[in-house]
């Protein structure tokens, strides 16, 4: 409990110490509930083969911390290959989503053409279609294209999310027209106006799209589970499920695997959380 004689809220009012105490107590309790399970997993992954991981009462700190389980995961499944596959898929998703939705969003917000309303409607409708309802048809579509069991097949359905197109459209619409008009008068064509003027003004939204695209692809489970059948092509989430199914009796191993899968994401999130919260707030407000 920190003693801050002048703790004030966002309106500059003083908060009483008593209220502050119970606020922090509640915050710590929720912290234990939300972050505790991750720490328990981390602790399990660091416990050695001779340590009892089932003890009662449970011991929260490993007696002799070891990284042995992490090397064992790599011996059991090609976990680094899976991580690389996930990285490829997530990176591709970031690039296609940023480029594709910026282009389409710009056309919808700033260009006049016959069929613009129809095009907007296509993206709105696509946003409403639940992925879970079309995965089987996506699977047969991929088969027709010969892309089942490839990483390209994992990337394609989510390559340009309709939601992201609409997010970019809103961002472009909120820009004042004047800046582009000046460039137009100076003879800049539509690509120059897009690249040099409009796009740099919506960097924040592009960042949000990038973060969501990365996390969405890195975390996705149902679609890669359906499209990938060859273990050498697995992404990390599918590999983990496989590890769990095959070596379920060794919790230390599964724990180490999950830590490998979640650590990079938590690190990324910690670095970018400011953009992240802004993005969700914006998305929620705009519906």
């Amino acid at each position: 409990m920190r003693r801050e004689p002048h703790v004030t809220d966002e309106h500059g009012r003083r908060i009483r110490v008593g209220e502050l105490v119970w606020r922090y107590l509640l915050l710590l309790a929720v912290l234990a509930l939300t972050v505790g399970p991750f720490l328990w997993q981390l602790s399990t992954s660091l416990k050695g083969p001779t340590e009892d991981i089932y003890s009662s009462p449970p011991s929260f700190l490993p007696a002799h911390p070891t990284l042995h389980n992490y090397t064992r995961v790599a011996d059991t499944i090609p976990v680094w290959d899976y991580a690389l596959n996930s990285l490829k898929v997530a990176t591709a998703n970031v690039v296609t989503n940023c480029v594709g939705s910026a282009l389409a969003g710009y056309a919808l917000a700033r260009l006049r053409f016959r069929g613009r309303r129809g095009t907007t409607l296509v993206f709105v409708l696509a946003m409403l279609v639940p992925v879970e309802g079309i995965v089987i048809a996506q699977f047969t579509t991929m088969r027709e294209l010969g892309l089942n069991n490839t990483l390209i097949g994992v990337v394609l359905p989510g390559a340009i999310g309709a939601m992201n197109v609409l997010l970019m459209r809103n961002a472009f619409r909120n820009l004042p027209y004047e800046i582009e008009e000046a460039a137009y008068v100076d003879g800049a064509d539509v690509w120059q106006r897009f690249l040099r003027i409009a796009l740099p003004s919506v960097k924040g939204t592009v960042a949000v799209v990038a973060i969501f695209a990365f996390m969405g692809a890195w975390d996705d489970f149902l679609w890669p589970l359906i499209v990938l059948s060859d273990p050498s092509k697995f992404t990390l989430t599918i590999g983990l499920n496989y590890l769990h199914g095959t070596f379920a009796n060794d919790e230390r191993l599964v724990a180490a695997g999950t830590v490998i899968a979640v650590a990079p994401l938590i690190a990324l999130f910690a670095c970018l959380q400011r953009y992240f919260f802004r993005g969700i707030g914006e998305g929620a407000v705009k519906g």
């Binding site: 809220d9 966002e10 606020r23 509640l26 915050l27 929720v30 912290l31 509930l33 939300t34 399970p37 991750f38 328990w40 089932y54 009462p57 594709g100 282009l103 389409a104 056309a107 260009l111 006049r112 053409f113 016959r114 296509v122 993206f123 279609v129 639940p130 879970e132 309802g133 079309i134 995965v135 089987i136 048809a137 996506q138 699977f139 579509t141 088969r143 394609l156 359905p157 390559a159 309709a162 690509w191 996390m215 149902l222 589970l225 359906i226 769990h244 599964v254 695997g257 999950t258 899968a261 979640v262 994401l265 938590i266 999130f269 910690a270 959380q273 919260f277 969700i280 929620a284 519906g287």
Partner: protein, 295 residues
């Protein structure tokens, strides 16, 4: 040189060039699969065999398929279990992290960690926590309550999966509520406080009405998501859906029926159509309730 012809071509073609990648991906991988799901639901198509038109046969078969009713029951129960918790708890959490006291940014981000983590990681963590010999059970035993088979009993397993869904969703909806709470006028609270309303009273008569439309939004989002639940139950119950498949959800059934080399694409499409219809109905229901209240 910018001839009039060139200008006109640029004006008419380039918008389509801008929109083309998005339209192509959306058309090929969302709208076409959507239409083909509808079409396939009237055929007996299999993964490797082209189908024939069979009319409503798939839908008639659904009515007599015990697994379908199990899936529909579990997906519906999921809404009943998860939605009230996800409408209320994140709001309380948002109130808790709303005040800018020292360190609050850390708490906000920390509470968001379960949202960021992959559902597979989350599922496996909870499988381990709720294991017969896992942390929750050893804490229960230490407390003298005794061990419970969270993952071996049909109903406890479903309840545990719901708890995990709520746990993972808390942070997400908390942020949505935070955005809504920021728009609640401070004066309303002050006026209520002057009138002698305590914190609970102010919560019920000031905060709740002010964020009501956000509560409806959260109810809509979480009920649609709950109905389509797949990963949590798949990971905690296993691919076949727990004891005697009793914990299978509708989307698990779609995945199980429609994939693999012998997948019954036609039948799985009929199941998917049910998922669509219920999802759209839920959205309309919640949004309609919202409008009626406002008028």
């Amino acid at each position: 040189m910018a001839t009039p012809v060139r200008i006109r071509r640029q004006l008419s073609v380039s918008p389509w060039l801008f929109a083309a990648p998005g339209l192509l991906v959306t058309g090929a991988f969302v709208l076409y699969p959507f239409v083909s799901t509808l079409v396939n639901s009237f055929t007996d198509r299999r993964t490797l065999l082209p189908g024939h038109f069979v009319g409503l046969a798939n839908f008639r078969e659904l009515l007599h398929d015990d697994m379908f009713w199990t899936g529909l029951r579990n997906s519906t129960l999921y809404i009943l279990g998860v939605v009230p918790a996800l409408v209320v708890l994140p709001l309380l959490l948002a109130l808790l992290v709303q005040k800018n006291i020292p360190g609050i940014t850390f708490f906000r981000s920390a509470f968001y960690t379960p949202v960021v983590a992959s559902i597979v990681v989350v599922g496996l963590i909870w499988v381990w926590l709720l294991d017969e010999r896992g942390l929750v059970n050893s804490l229960l035993e230490t407390a003298g309550i005794g061990r419970t088979g969270f993952l071996s009993d049909q109903w406890l397993l479903l309840l545990s999966a719901m708890a995990v869904t709520v746990w993972k969703g808390l942070g997400y909806y908390m942020i949505i509520y935070l955005a809504a709470l920021a728009n609640v006028p401070r004066e309303l609270h002050e006026a209520a406080a002057v009138d002698g309303a305590g914190p609970v009273r102010r919560f019920l008569s000031v905060t709740v009405p002010a964020v009501r439309s956000t509560m409806v939004l959260v109810a809509a989002l979480s009920s649609v998501a709950a109905f389509k639940v797949f990963s949590e139950v798949y990971l905690m119950a296993g691919p076949t859906g727990g004891p005697a498949g009793e914990d299978t959800t509708l989307v698990m059934l779609v995945q199980r029926t429609g994939t693999g080399l012998t997948g019954r694409v036609g039948y799985a499409s009929a199941l998917s159509v049910v998922v669509f219809v219920v999802t759209v109905a839920l959205m309309l229901l919640v949004l309609r309730a919202d409008r009626r209240d406002e008028s």
